[in-house]
């Protein structure tokens, strides 16, 4: 075999994806399944649609006479158009060995790249939840609890806030345990102050789940670190207000159906001795097909704060 580069490049992309994805919290909590292959020309892809099965009330005799029509669940897909891409553009001179350093098992270069990709992906998704969702998908806690200019989240009302979130799910005929709350470290602090960071019902795996904080009042709470959806004190850096995210797994369907690294030659006129240019590319997109399964939740941690705004 003359060269393994033709397989090393897609393998590198696959490795980068495999490594950045587990570093995320919000992105990782989304449904990432898709069917078939991305059509690169039309950019179309099929993603699964999760129907709710209807439960029929009947008598045994009646059911024998008139069984309800079958509902096909797994066969349903929705065709979507993938419209987002991210890439890192890098090169190496003829003398360089960057591709080898990136592909190596314990590559420090790749680790840095992976971290950046994870942070970017997390930030984009969190900002979309905080600033792009329609008003109907907001659970406005300050308004519901009449915080006005003086109220904010404390150890005294944190359980009430969690109950409101659960009530929203119950009102929409959903199971609250399907939801998770994604909030900043400030929420964790309030829980700790309220002495309700419960761990007695955890199994050994919980600690390894990305961003896991606790099960409090029956709610799975995860920590996300996206500065742009929080307002911080200019001096201490502590969070004063934020948009938390209350969602189920299929609340956001986040798919990455294409990842590759493409290479091209760089002429010696451009770089001494010439070299090779690389683009590590990912095409991806995310969708909120079920609006009742994704909400943004404004929270205050001090009186009369300013909520973050889209930059």
């Amino acid at each position: 075999m003359a060269s393994t580069e033709f397989v090393k490049l897609p393998a590198l992309s696959s490795k980068i994806y495999k490594e950045w994805y587990p570093k995320t919290v919000l992105v990782q909590s989304c449904d990432d399944s898709f069917e078939g292959e991305l059509n690169l020309e039309t950019r179309e892809l099929d993603i699964p649609v999760y129907h709710d099965l209807t439960v029929h009330q009947t008598t045994i005799k009646e059911r024998e006479l008139k069984p309800a029509a079958i509902e096909f669940v797994k066969a349903s897909t929705k065709r979507v158009t993938i419209d987002k891409g991210r890439y890192s553009h890098w090169g190496q001179t003829t003398l360089g060995k960057l591709i080898d350093r990136l592909s190596a098992e314990d590559s420090e270069v790749r680790r840095k790249l992976v971290n950046k990709w994870a942070i970017e992906a997390e930030k984009e998704l969190a900002e979309w939840c905080a600033f792009s969702l329609p008003t109907a998908q907001t659970i406005n806690i300050p308004s519901i609890l009449s915080w006005s200019t003086t109220g904010y989240l404390t150890e005294d009302n944190v359980l009430q806030v969690l109950d409101i979130l659960k009530a929203k799910a119950i009102a929409a005929n959903m199971e609250p345990s399907e939801f998770k709350l994604f909030a900043s470290e400030a929420f964790e602090t309030v829980l700790r102050d309220a002495k309700i960071l419960l761990g007695y019902n955890l199994d050994a795996n919980e600690a390894f789940k990305a961003g896991f904080v606790a099960y409090a009042n029956g709610v799975d709470i995860r920590r996300i670190q996206v500065p742009s959806i929080t307002t911080r004190n200019s001096t201490s850096g502590l969070v004063e207000a934020e948009y938390a995210v209350w969602k189920t797994r299929d609340g956001i369907q986040y798919v990455v159906p294409y990842k590759n690294t493409v290479s091209y030659d760089i002429m010696p006129t451009e770089v001494l001795l010439g070299g090779t240019g690389y683009q590590t590319v990912e095409y991806y997109d995310f969708f909120n097909i079920y609006p009742t399964r994704l909400y943004r939740v404004p929270l205050y941690y001090k009186a009369n704060p300013t909520l973050p705004t889209a930059s």
Binding site: M1, A2, S3, T4, F6, V7, K8, L9, P10, A11, S13, S14, K15, Y17, K18, Y21, D32, S33, F34, E37, L38, S103, V256, P257, Y258, K259, N260
Partner: protein, 232 residues
């Protein structure tokens, strides 16, 4: 001499008599000449008609004979078909009667032959290979025996995977050694890596793979890349 002259005179006289007689006949039947002409024409016509009639008759006879021949042929064909069908039916019945035992015996013989030729290949491992089972489906006990089918399958796999026939056979033997512990152990210089063709296919497919799909191939893929890098 005078006698000869006498005879000649007599002949001449007789000829004259005949001429005279004809002359009278002609005088008595003045239209005889014309009648003679008409008669000829009629005769000709009648002859022509008779000829046409004969020809028509012959045509009819030929036609009848042709039809009869075709009928006979059709009957013979139908009979032959019926006979063939009956024979086939009989043979099918015969075969179905003897199927269970005879087929088992035949297969048994073929498997014994196979084991003689390939003592290291475990039939259990072959049986576990779903692709092999699909391949021989409908072909077993056909024109090729089990050994032939196995060899054909190994060749097919070789052309698809790029592995050598020996490697493919060893894969069955290795599994056998691990499972039964009775077969002799075999060692191979080639580690468990993708062939070059497989690697090319995977490199094209890899960008489109989901996380789960990529996970399934990643370990072997890394090993393969390292293997071919060292080989350079």
């Amino acid at each position: 001499m005078p006698e000869e002259k006498k005879v000649e005179d007599k002949q001449i006289e007789e000829e004259k008599k005949i001429d005279e007689k004809d002359f009278f006949v002609d005088l008595l039947n003045p239209e005889d000449d014309e009648d003679e002409t008409d008669d000829d024409e009629q005769k000709k016509k009648a002859a022509e008609e008779a000829k046409a009639k004969d020809e028509e008759e012959q045509r009819r006879k030929n036609k009848d004979a042709e039809e009869a021949r075709k009928r006979r042929e059709a009957e013979a064909k139908a009979k032959a078909e019926a006979d063939a069908k009956a024979a086939e039916e009989a043979s099918r019945k015969q075969t179905s009667k003897e199927t269970p035992n005879e087929n088992v015996n035949k297969l048994g013989e073929q498997l014994v032959e196979f084991k003689k030729k390939y003592p290291d290949v475990e039939l259990v491992e072959l049986d576990k290979d779903a692709n092999f089972k699909k391949y021989i489906e409908g072909k077993l006990l056909g024109r090729k025996d089990f050994t032939g089918l196995y060899e054909e399958y190994v060749e097919l796999r070789q052309s698809l995977s790029g592995k050598s026939q020996e490697e493919i056979r060893q894969s069955y033997e290795r599994k056998a050694a691990a499972s039964s512990g009775s077969s002799k152990t075999t060692t191979s210089d080639t580690p468990d890596v993708y062939s070059e063709e497989e690697l090319e296919k995977i490199s094209k497919k890899l960008p489109y793979m989901s996380r789960a799909e990529a996970d399934r191939v990643s370990a072997k893929l890394d090993k393969s890349i390292a293997f071919y890098e060292n080989k350079k």
